[in-house]
């Protein structure tokens, strides 16, 4: 039959199933815990867990099949060498759609199609990388570094956010209304809302980014994600009038008022992208929230 080097179970095929199981475990684990909030929107949670479970089951069933095949057939496989068919990744079942992959005669064997010819998708080994990275580095949510790397081609645009009704409904009993930073930015850029915003004290929550504004100021930022962490968009305000400093990525609650005049001044100098300036009347450190990103409403 095939000139395999191993006499026992086809390690290559078994590796494939184990890889799938490993990825399934990773997905289920992250999906089930709060770790997923660092990477994805909360609404993805059930899908991630489901995918993880499906992969787990798929890999396990496949593993069992291979094992059973091995033990019942030993080295001799009358079914056209099960091992051989695994190598080709072909699983035709008679006349139904089979996935016979063309045999590679050795030509056009580019990097990009590993596993198509012999052996189970060698490129599949790369799937170990996210498992290792997630376990080893266990990276946190995007933070200050991402804020400093924002593209100038993207910006928090005008949204459906209407400032006036919002402020009205959130100011009962003289309470200071809290805004999302993205909402604050949207209102600060909207000529209809600017004056009202400049006249109202508001509360914002975000993490501190130092070194981006003029001396004596710091940015308070939050990241918006659309699909996943890869498209994170920073919403930032420049906090003026507060002397205390905070380390990068510490979370603060800032109470203050929009400084329309200075912001418009800076606008002319800095181009279209500007963080609205907030003059702070109070800043206090808070615990990092579970959901660090803002999700556009």
């Amino acid at each position: 039959m095939s000139t395999r080097t191993r006499g026992f179970a086809s390690v290559n095929d078994v590796d494939g199933s184990i890889l799938v199981v490993a990825v399934g475990v990773l997905a289920t684990w992250i999906g089930a815990t709060d770790a997923m909030l660092r990477y994805l929107r909360p609404s993805m949670r059930p899908w991630l867990v489901l995918a993880g479970v499906v992969l787990l089951v798929l890999g396990t069933v496949d593993y069992l099949h291979i094992r059973r095949q091995r033990s019942s057939l030993g080295d001799h496989d009358p079914h056209g060498d099960h091992a051989g068919h695994e190598e080709h990744g072909e699983h035709g079942v008679g006349d139904s759609y089979s996935f016979g992959q063309g045999d590679d005669d050795g030509e056009a064997s580019g990097e990009g199609h590993a596993g198509h010819d012999h052996g189970r998708s060698r490129v599949g080994w790369l799937l170990l990388l996210p498992v290792v990275i997630a376990v080893l580095i266990d990276p946190g949510a995007l933070g200050a570094y991402a804020v400093t790397r924002q593209s100038n081609l993207r910006f928090i645009g005008a949204s459906d956010f209407e400032l006036e009704p919002y402020l009205r409904s959130h100011s009962f009993g003289g309470a200071v209304p809290d805004l999302l930073i993205a909402e604050f930015m949207a209102a600060s850029r909207n000529p209809d809302d600017q004056e009202l915003l400049a006249a109202t004290e508001v509360k914002l929550i975000g993490f501190v980014v130092n070194g981006e504004g003029p001396e004596g100021s710091f940015l308070v930022a939050r990241l918006q994600i659309g699909c996943c962490a890869a498209d994170a968009l920073a919403a930032t305000v420049e906090v003026h009038g507060w002397e205390a400093t905070y380390p990068d990525e510490s979370w603060v609650e800032v109470t203050g008022t929009f400084d329309l005049a200075t912001t418009l001044n800076e606008n002319e100098d800095a181009g279209w992208f500007v963080s609205p300036i907030l003059v702070a009347s109070a800043v206090r450190e808070i615990e990092a929230p579970k959901e660090k990103y803002e999700y556009p409403r």
Binding site: T3, G100, V135, L153, C227, A230
Partner: protein, 356 residues
Amino acid sequence: MSDGRPPAADTSDERPHTADTADSSPLAADTKANEPVPTRRILGPVATTAVWANLVVIVVYRSSFGHLFTNAVVENWATIFVSVVLQALPFLAMGVVVSAAISALVPAQWLARVLPSKPVLAVPVAGLAGAVLPGCECSSVPVAGRLVQRGVPQAAALTFLLAAPAINPVVMVATSVAFPRNPEMVFARFAASFGAAVVVGWLWSRFASPELLEQRLRTLAATSHVHAFTATAVNDFLQAGGFLVLGASLVAALQTLVPASALDSLAGGGVVSLASMAVLAVLLSICSEADAFVAAGLPQFSLTSRLAFLVVGPMIDLKLIALHVGTFGRRFALRFDPLTFVVAVGMAVVVGAVVL
């Protein structure tokens, strides 16, 4: 009845039991498969054991490793990388599972019977069939080969080959999730991909001689339906997952390491950004269920250039080129692949201009 020339003598396709007669037993083995096959594996058994052992160690002792990687740049890369992979995972899993199920359950003859015989009509119908049957790129090539064997007009089979990975429901859903603020991307992707598949099919039926397509398909049997299903699904997932990892790491690197201004200048200009996304799609070879998330991870680029990425990717990439050569021969690939690339980019531009 087949449009293709008779299969070359050295392939297994002349076997009478694979002709379009009554179903042979599902466990029909192709004796060609018993030929000795050299094993090429990237790691020997000792090395693979070492890999698994290392993984176990890392998992068990992870808390003591944590302090080694507190670099902000590394963390930023890692977060983006993991998030793209995780975001794409459910769609990849779904696409692979459904496509493997269909491949295991739907006989090739069904499609052959359903298609009209005239290429002009068969091509768009085949394209629409692709919309309904989720097919991973990896499996759509051999499926198309099998269709040609069954007598489906070549052009229709090729249109199906192009359309199935590009416009099936899983891909459409993935695209809508990846572009929550731009739902028009879903329609644009569908229209441009369907259009490209049909145009290529029509052009092929009009201008290409049937001898260009060799039949080099081999069939091997699994031992049971369930095994066929799981083995295919695992194989497809591994391959697609591997390329997803490549694409995700590239996106993470671009967003973490390349200066924002450099990326902006590449992304901002019309032709340059379009061309770079089209080329990137060919190089990255990402499965169509996952590529929407990679495209969403490059938001500096215009929607149209990212549309080009999404239209070109499922039809032409390094992995597919190799599959084409392996399944249909080099002469075929030399004509089919550039044609498809040009049509795909053109369609993306046209549809992008109108819709986006």
